[in-house]
């Protein structure tokens, strides 16, 4: 229940990301890069609000979020620079890998959250090609934390309220709806560092 524990989990997610990416087909292997881990932090931060430590399933969920993030970043690059065959193929590959990564968790709700994020990000970009996908994935991170973690009912309500607010208030004010304490502080610092 502390910062050190959270950072251990984030690092495990980073290591797993690098491990599976090393086995990716080229050019996905070359293009996937390194995860920026903000989503992993949001996810594990939510988990830390409770006492349950999902271990392997938590790492997989975090890795899946980071894979989706990379897929959407590559997609955004494609929208900016114009269609490139390589980028389309690799984003499709990363979407499939992201879904496959969480199959072992055996929780259909997890797939639903990730799939919903893919749909929402695509719909946002149809409206505005410059739309930032991070609020959608951040919301998925919080929702996954609620789905996988065992957080008390009050904290769940607060996280859900923050999650709903994310699209409107990215990166900022939705954090005020999260439970007060070291987790909220940590997430605030993490988001400020990445934006």
């Amino acid at each position: 229940m502390c910062l050190a524990e959270l950072e251990v989990e984030v690092n495990r997610a980073r290591e797993r990301f690098i491990e599976i990416a090393a086995d990716f087909q080229s050019p996905a292997r070359e293009l996937v890069g390194e995860p920026d881990l903000l989503l992993a932090k949001l996810f594990f931060g939510t988990i830390m609000l409770g006492d349950h430590r999902p271990r392997e399933s938590g790492v997989r969920a975090a890795v899946s979020l980071e894979l989706l993030n990379r897929a959407l970043e590559l997609g955004k690059e494609q929208l900016k620079t114009g269609y490139r065959e390589e980028l389309l193929l690799v984003t499709d590959y990363l979407y499939a890998q992201a879904i496959d990564e969480v199959i072992a968790i055996e929780e259909a709700a997890v797939i639903g959250i990730l799939a919903g994020a893919i749909m929402a990000a695509a719909a946002d970009r149809m409206e505005d090609p410059r739309a930032d996908h991070r609020p959608r994935l951040a919301r998925a991170a919080l929702d996954l934390g609620v789905a996988i973690g065992q957080i008390d009912a009050r904290a769940v309500e607060m996280v859900k309220a923050a999650s709903l607010r994310l699209k409107i208030d990215w990166p900022g004010l939705w954090l005020e709806l999260m439970p007060e304490g070291w987790v909220r502080e940590y997430l605030t610092i993490s988001i400020e560092a990445s934006t």
């Binding site: 259909a108 639903g112 695509a122 719909a123 149809m126």
Partner: protein
């Protein structure tokens, strides 16, 4: 809506066709319920027709069980067809195709960007739909197939115009590109039906064989089909640099036609290459290979419990041979 070949020629039972009809209505309504930027282009693609083989395989496989929830069945059928549709939408962007089944593609009508995003959306929709059933065991085969599909596409693009491809490499590619989703369709059906492991394994063998044959026949059609029916010119694979089984067999002969056409796909070069592929017996060799796969599929189906699903699967296998001989 264009009538699919399966509905026109009816190689399967009325029960299967009736369920397929129910699926068709459900699927159309599902897409129509999405917001206009998605539904308008996606519906046009759906209404262009298609054999709906994957949902059909799922329906027949699920019918091996005594009592399958219809709602789950329709959602599962929609999920496999959505993954297939998403892959076609992206394929059309990759190939720069203006038409598919004689209808303008999404990228032709709405641009590449919109087509890419619609493909992404449909992919997400497939998994969200299946997740609502709350059963990971139904999602797993589709997740595996999606990895295969995307992996196969990457490999295919990397091997364009490569003249030294072996038959086993080609077979590996078409497994990922086509057979994997056929297998997923049958496995999801098997899990809905709660059949035993031996039956599920037979369905997997059947679907794998049928999928491989189907793709080989599709690749043969690129040399033998009617351009008006295909909706694209003969020799399109040569034009795009996709090396298929007839070409691999033809390349075993000491000739220049294919290498020349693959490296310089003018109409004249393509025509010469197509003529050569016919003349050297490569088409017949490819057909024999396809028949081997169908024979394996029919053998697997033959070991299934007796009943109309078993008969339908065997009939479908024979249909694939007869239709594309």
């Amino acid at each position: 809506m264009k009538i699919s070949l399966v509905k026109k020629e009816k190689p399967v039972s009325i029960r299967a066709l009736a369920l397929l009809d129910k699926f068709e209505s459900f699927f159309t309504s599902l897409i129509a319920a999405e917001s206009a930027p998605i539904s308008v282009p996606a519906l046009a693609a759906v209404r262009a027709g298609g054999k709906r083989l994957r949902p059909l395989l799922l329906i027949i496989s699920a019918s091996l069980g005594s009592k399958v929830d219809k709602g789950k069945l329709l959602n599962a059928c929609s999920a496999v067809e959505l993954v297939h549709l998403a892959s076609l939408v992206h394929d059309d962007v990759l190939d720069g195709s203006d038409t598919r089944r004689g209808v303008s593609t999404i990228n032709a009508n709405f641009g590449q960007t919109r087509a890419i995003l619609i493909g992404d959306y449909l992919f997400g929709l497939a998994f969200r739909l299946l997740s609502k059933e709350g059963e990971n065991r139904l999602i797993e085969p589709l997740a595996i197939a999606s990895v295969h599909l995307s992996s196969g596409e990457l490999r295919q693009r990397q091997t364009l115009r490569q003249l030294d491809q072996r038959i086993d490499e080609y077979l590996g590619k078409i497994y990922t590109k086509t057979a994997a989703l056929f297998i997923a369709s049958c496995l999801i059906g098997a899990r809905l039906a709660e059949v035993d492991e031996a039956t599920a394994a037979l369905l997997e063998d059947y679907a794998g064989g049928l999928g491989m044959a189907f793709q080989i026949y599709d690749d043969i059609l690129d040399f033998t089909g009617d351009a008006n029916v295909l909706g694209k010119p003969i020799g399109n694979d040569i034009r795009e640099g996709t090396v298929t089984l007839p070409m691999i067999y033809a390349l075993n002969h000491d000739d220049d036609y294919l290498p020349r056409a693959l490296n310089n796909p003018t109409s004249a070069n393509i025509k010469e290459a197509v003529d050569f592929v016919h003349a050297c017996g490569a088409i017949d060799s490819a057909r024999e290979k396809a028949k081997e796969f169908v024979a394996g599929a029919i053998q697997a189906a033959g070991d299934l419990p007796d009943g109309w699903p078993r008969r339908d699967l065997i009939s479908l296998g024979n249909f694939v041979i007869d239709r594309y001989h």
